[in-house]
Amino acid sequence: MRINQRFWFLLHGWFSLPIWLLFCFICLTGTIAVLSHELTWLTNPLARAENPNQLPAKPIPDLIAAVQKKIPDAEIGHVMTFEPYLVTAVSFASKDMPAAIAYVNPYTADVQMINQGITFIGFMRTLHGWLLFPWYHNYSIGYYLVSAMSLVVLGALVTGLVVYKRFWQAYTEKPRLRFASGGRVWLGDLHRLAGAWSLWFLLIIGLTGFWYLVQALLWHNDIELGPETAPIAMESLPLLTQLPPAEHPPQRIPFQQAYATALKTLPALQPAWISLPEHNRDYYSIAGAGNNVLFDQYAYRVQINPWTGDVVSVQTPGTLTGLQTLAHIADPLHYGTIGGLWTKLLWFVFGLILTGMSITGFLIWSKRTFKAARDGHRAADKPRRRRAVSTPMVAQDEVAP
């Protein structure tokens, strides 16, 4: 096949059309996932952080104490903070609840709800991220499928720019939507108009998605993104001459102390993800966002030795390796959280546009394909009819601006 306008046009279609349903589904779930926090706020009053008295947010140790007061045998695993209008999630295990999340109001420290099932936010994340496919330790076929869609996005973007000559005129000229010229012409106009105005969004989603594909390959091949903190040396653990009573094992420093040390060490840290030691050689880990909005809520981190209270590691954007930097800047760009609620709304709107473009692209293609197939059927069924059947032509209105 010669590389001409028709070739690029067919290539543009083939980037997504055979897998149109899957691509459209991933676009749609991603769009919903962008606003999953806000949809949770809308649909679950117990997930809202009401603050009628305009109280300041309480420190995380107070929220943990509130959970332990309500459930005395709760063993805290980790804590996750969200937007100011959402509760703080405190994960714990207790005798009656082996895996549960307490929804704690960050302003009043009220435990508003205990969730022992899945959350909408988590469900949307797994549905969009890997289509709920299982993880085989370090890879998931679903994660590969979804992240490979970045090639579809980038391919459609590049071929679309080749096909749509002088696309920049879409920004300078009055939008053209020829309703009177028939469905296919109108759909083509709409597809091109949406594409021209979504170029930046397609580029962001395509490039960040491509990073997720690279990351999946790195995980699959056991390639670490950067050095991990070594566990506490076993010689540093307390060693007693006599076995203590089971109810009085050696005590770690209180979490409150570790938390205060972390904030003192890294004043810019806005704690968003806190994990408590999972074994005796593990650390208190207090991670969060900082004063660089390009990075996610795990980029800044302080790890504290739970036996001595010493700061073991301090992570900031400046200490990250190249791969770690990519990992920490991809999410805010992909999720649209980079500028808070307003950018999330913007990402949601353009997510809808991208979903719509996959639909309009499919409709244009199906009109052409079904028409061509009908022509093909006629040609095959009536071979004696003296009619020259052309290959499905690319209508001029489909490739010109």
């Binding site: 306008q5 059309l17 149109w20 289509l131 709920l132 394909t369 095959a380 071979p383």
Partner: protein, 178 residues
Amino acid sequence: MKADSMNTDSMNAVHMNTGDINTGTMKKRKFHWQRLCYYLSGLLLLLPCWYLWQALHPQFPAEWPEQRIGPISAAPMPLDEAAPYAHDGALQKDFSVRFCAGCIAQIRQAYLSVGPVAAALPDNADGILHGNNLLQHVHAPFPLQIGADDQLWLTVQLWNGELHHAAWPVPQGWRHTR
């Protein structure tokens, strides 16, 4: 582009009947192939429903027999029946370990290992038991070749430094898979 389609038209006009048949058959095939891709892509979307059901109804193998380890007792449970999986150039397998009530608080550190004898306590945290006071979890390191004498060892060190071991036989099906 127009020249291309004109050429195609001319060729079809020259070959008349056979050209019509061939073009039509090719289009038919192409159409069927595209339709197949379309339906396959749609069928793929049924899988998340199945995986969601699986995630909500997890099935685990039976717990292995409980054994005494010094003053405490424990029972491991593999998270699935599959052979160990590759990780960092070695093999690994995930287990849960249930200890007697209140016993985890007596443990300074505990590890799972596989071999003819229990492995020495590692400097790194490979095979370390972690989790909460109700249930522990572990990514147990396995050798690339599991020997006939190899067993799964649970090594527990108590707060007074005492070391205790218990061993379970490695299932036959895990030995010769890689």
